[in-house]
């Protein structure tokens, strides 16, 4: 379990990225959402032990991540959004790095690479940004670490690769694993992510499963402009809206609408979801 207790983090004094933030993440494919600059990547880096909290704690299975002890590090894989890839061949990179992870599966790596239609005998320097990402996603998922942190994994992937990505993630997921995907491309991952965390200006607006969200909210379309909604969007077919679920109706979650509703009703959402 990832526990974040009263975490504060600053790049500059007086401008907190997080201030006294607390929440937990257990198993699931978490969607980490938030506007630009709210600290999604920073949070992933803190969890991976690359950044240290100014106060409070970030723990993985009870151990502080800032200590970077090998046991904790062997449980985590981080795919950063921006990275300078190695200059070696893919095979060399895998040989050099995978040996540190006790549950790495070469077979799984090759299967993932096949799913992405990639070859393992190429040099990183010959690959495009999207192809490098495919290699690192294949590698990260085949390490079988209990915690996988993916920062904007679908950025740079072409349209077929996004479906391949969903397949790779879904096939690697089991109930003991915690995969956190920070993304703006919510439509790419709508069918995949559950629970959802929305970060907003030093705080967590929402950290709930899809079931909990749809129990409290409805996501609907109507011809006429609806009233008493949290968020309404007009489109060619009429209006799409997010409103309170007063009748226990089951509707399909629309993450983009949820996000817009949450950031335009911060206090209401915090109260509604007990954050």
């Amino acid at each position: 379990m990832i526990e974040i207790n009263n975490l504060s983090f600053y790049y500059k004094k007086g401008k907190p990225v997080f201030e006294q933030v607390s929440f937990e993440m257990a198993s699931g494919i978490y969607g980490l959402l938030g506007e630009n600059g709210v600290g999604k990547s920073t949070l992933l880096r803190i969890i991976a032990g690359l950044r240290f909290p100014d106060s409070g704690q970030c723990k993985i299975d009870g151990k502080d991540t800032f200590r970077r002890d090998p046991e904790t590090l062997s449980k985590v894989f981080l795919l950063p959004e921006e990275f300078e890839s190695p200059t070696v061949k893919i095979d060399r990179f895998i040989k050099d790095n995978a040996k540190f992870y006790p549950h790495f599966s070469r077979e799984q790596f090759e299967n993932n690479m096949r799913d992405f239609e990639m070859e393992t005998d190429r040099k990183f320097s010959e690959l495009s940004y999207g192809q490098k990402k495919k290699v690192l996603i294949s590698y990260g998922m085949s390490l079988n670490t209990p915690y996988v942190l993916l920062d904007e994994p679908t950025n740079g992937l072409d349209i077929p690769s996004k479906a391949q990505f969903r397949k790779v993630i879904a096939s690697a997921y089991d109930e003991d694993r915690c995969i956190i995907i920070s993304t703006h491309q919510v439509r790419d991952l709508e069918s995949l992510i559950d629970p959802i965390i929305i970060l907003d200006r030093n705080q967590v607006l929402l950290n709930n499963s899809v079931e909990e969200i749809t129990r409290k909210l409805v996501f609907k379309h109507t011809q006429n402009k609806p009233e008493n909604t949290y968020y309404t969007e007009s489109n060619l077919a009429g209006y799409s809206y997010v409103g309170p679920n007063l009748t226990g109706e089951e509707t399909t979650l629309n993450i983009e609408m949820l996000f817009n509703a949450a950031v335009s009703n911060r206090t209401t959402f915090k109260d509604l979801f007990n954050v």
């Binding site: 970077r68 002890d69 300078e84």
Partner: protein
Amino acid sequence: MSNIFDIHRFGKLFTREFGRYSPKLIGIGSVGLGIFALTVIYSYVFQSSPLNFSFVAFGVALTVLAPIIYHKRVDRTNSIFDFTLPVSSFEKFLVKWSFSVILMPAFVIAYLLLIGWLYRLMPGGMCVESGSRIIDFLKSLSFEQICSISALQSFFLVGSFYFRKHVFWKVSLSLIIYFLLFALVFILFHQSMFLENHQVSLGINFWGDMMYSDSNHSHTLSGINRNLFVYISLNLVAPLGMWVVSFLKLRETEV
């Protein structure tokens, strides 16, 4: 399995880093052999000792190659897979330490030995004589002097953690300042303790031999092992300090 040091994990990390470092060593070795060839040609063409040219050639090579050897930028894009690798900070430090303090001097000595032998194999008196001079120099190196080379490397080690760019030049400049300060402290100490109202001039060489003269005498405290103050300062306290600072810096680095 210890979270601080595990020999198997260390071995894996060492081989990983050696694999990444070896192309650099091969490149540097090739450049070195190229320079060797040039010095031999120079020797035959100008009927002069190859060592005369080699000082210039190696100076140029060092100027060009040193930044490549010591420069390893650490930032949020290029170091993530190093920092998230499941090894301890101590193991990471120990690998860097062994490369910088042990392997690099060993590589230089092995290289000098190789070109010494190669010069001896070349026909012509100048080359053979130069080879013998190199071999004699290496034979004359005492354990303390080899330690001094490693101690010097410790400054570059700590520099590689603190400076993001131009590590070699910045460390070299820092070393010059360090020696100047060291000499200044020595002179002030010497004047205040023993030689009030006397002018003292001081010289110190790479091996820790210290030459000083006042208005009445001229002295040479030669040999590191006989000059305990210099020996301890240069070969024990300074490197140990550098290692501790390097380790702490590595542990505290955020990317």
